[in-house]
Amino acid sequence: MKGTGTRKKRASRWGSRLLAAHGVTSYLFLYLPIVILVVFSFNASQYATVWRGFSLKWYGTLLANAALGTALKNTLIVAGASTIISTIFGTMVALAMERYNFWGKLAFDSLLYLPIIIPDISMAVMLLLFFVLTKIQLGLLTIIISHVAFNISFVAVVVRARLAYFDISLEEAAQDLYANEWQTFRRVTLPLIMPGILGGALLAFTLSIDDFVITFFTAGPGSTTLPLRIYSMVKLGVTPEINALSSLMLVVSMGLVLLSLLLQRGGGGGIEIM
């Protein structure tokens, strides 16, 4: 009996070591390619994979690249506009979905989730077809419309997660203290769900900055965004300049995502979104 006990213990120790090794390897797998990409953006060599000493020159060439300036401007216009619209609409619909029951709610709920689940190539194709057949000129406007179409759903999911943990008695307390409806909403409800709204907005902004496939299909001449620019640069050949641009984008979006996730976690709601 004692013998099997130690054997079991030893097996379990090896098991947990193996599990830990697997965990560490998995995280290396997730981060090593990104780290290598960033490290080689500081490479003095013009070849993307041969190290020739530290240099910031590729970041310098980015600054001198006028086409990138336009792409950055377009990216920010699209991300800014689509974030504002989708945050307002998404928050409104989240309030409605959490507080009301109505006819057709289940169908509407499915419609709300579909843009998250559908492969982006399918959504891209749908929207392109729609714009071509309705003869809407492809450009910044069509990109913004498309980004709002997927961002509403993401904002709604994040805000709903926050609302699900909302303590309704706080609203009742405000009413007991003679706050009118609007005051209650402005002073109690809104501040309490604000981390969720901000988290949703940041997520929408990041998704918009980073989107490639849907933007690729719905962009017109002159509406190139940064991911589209990176794509055409990669197609022409691998250069450290792409590494530099990619590193900047990765750092910005990782920062935004981290902030967004921390905001969502802030209410004890846990991380709700996949």
Binding site: L19, Y100, I117
Partner: protein, 313 residues
């Protein structure tokens, strides 16, 4: 005196004012999603029964021809390959992701949150850039091959000089040319696993975290060994996470466009690339629509399975 909350707590709208409020809250999103999502979706469905016009437009005559073209051996082969790549990706994600989820779930809670955060941060960042990172690794002049034909080759040269054995020759020959990684199905699968691994880990984690560990102890008390207690207790109880994760990985892998475009070669195109070329170069909207509608149908089926697996748990 108004003592009702601006938004009622729950339930059906109780007054006309509440009904009006509900309508004003949902109508902007409803409008947007109907006009810029649902109608385009129906349009794709409708056009998939149309015909390509002479100058690339759409002729609206009802035909099943586009779905028939699916059975053209060329497209059938691409579709089959796409399904196989997506399946292999899903299985690999499961083999890597489930133990990883188990690892995270068994850490102390403070660590758990950090590990989850670390898992999710790259997931939400630019997919194109993350794929490009793998391009840097997998190319013929990439980091892996630089090591293979450089460091490893030199090391073998040194070894063969120090210790003459016939085996070095074959190894030296092998390391003198780069490994054919780039442009293969393997490269695509690596890129997809990399991209969607968190989609597998998170549902598995959620299921494992909910697991009542006393049930495992009970099984072990009844002399089930570790393998048996895992197969008979842990795995069935976390099956909902496995199914959900598999659906979440399989769907985007099936619709992959960027990964095969950047990491795959001319011979390893997937269904997403076919859709792209139908819309952007061949201008055959009806056929492109038919393909993407089939893709969406599979996706809907997957979603149904996903929600079923969620409902059971």
């Amino acid at each position: 005196m108004e003592t009702q909350p601006l938004l009622q707590t729950q339930g059906k709208p109780r007054s006309r004012r509440e009904t009006w409020r509900l309508l004003s809250l949902i109508s902007p999103s409803l409008f947007w999603l109907v006009v810029f999502f649902l109608i385009p979706l129906l349009l794709v469905f409708a056009i998939s029964y149309g015909q390509r016009g002479t100058y690339g437009g759409v002729k609206w005559n009802l035909t099943l021809e586009n779905y028939g073209r699916f059975f053209d051996p060329l497209y059938l082969r691409i579709f089959g390959r796409t399904v196989i790549i997506a399946l292999v990706t899903t299985v690999l994600c499961l083999l890597i992701g489930y133990p990883l989820a188990y690892f995270i779930a068994t850490r102390p809670s403070r660590w758990r949150n950090v590990l989850l955060l670390l898992l999710m941060v790259p997931f939400w960042t630019n997919f194109l850039i993350r794929t490009y990172a793998w391009l840097l690794l997998l190319r013929d002049q990439g980091f892996i091959n630089l090591f293979w034909t450089g460091g490893l080759h030199d090391f073998l040269l040194w070894l063969s000089a120090a210790l003459p054995l016939p085996i070095w020759r074959t190894l030296l020959e092998a390391t003198s040319t780069p490994l054919p990684l780039f442009g293969t199905d393997l490269a695509i699968i690596v890129g997809l696993v990399y991209g969607w691994l968190p989609d597998m880990v998170l549902p598995c984690y959620a299921a494992i975290e909910r697991l009542d560990y006393s049930l495992v102890e009970a099984a072990q008390d009844l002399y089930a060994n570790r393998t048996r207690s895992f197969l008979r207790v842990v795995l069935p109880l976390t099956m909902s996470g496995v199914v959900a994760g598999s659906v979440l990985v399989f769907i985007p892998s099936l619709g992959a466009y960027v990964t095969p475009d950047l990491l795959g070669g001319a011979k390893s195109i997937m269904i997403g690339n076919v859709i792209y070329s139908q819309f952007m170069s061949a201008r055959d909207y009806p056929f492109g629509s038919a393909i993407s509608f089939v893709l969406m149908a599979i996706m809907l089926l997957g979603t149904l399975i996903y929600f079923r697996s969620g409902a059971e748990s």
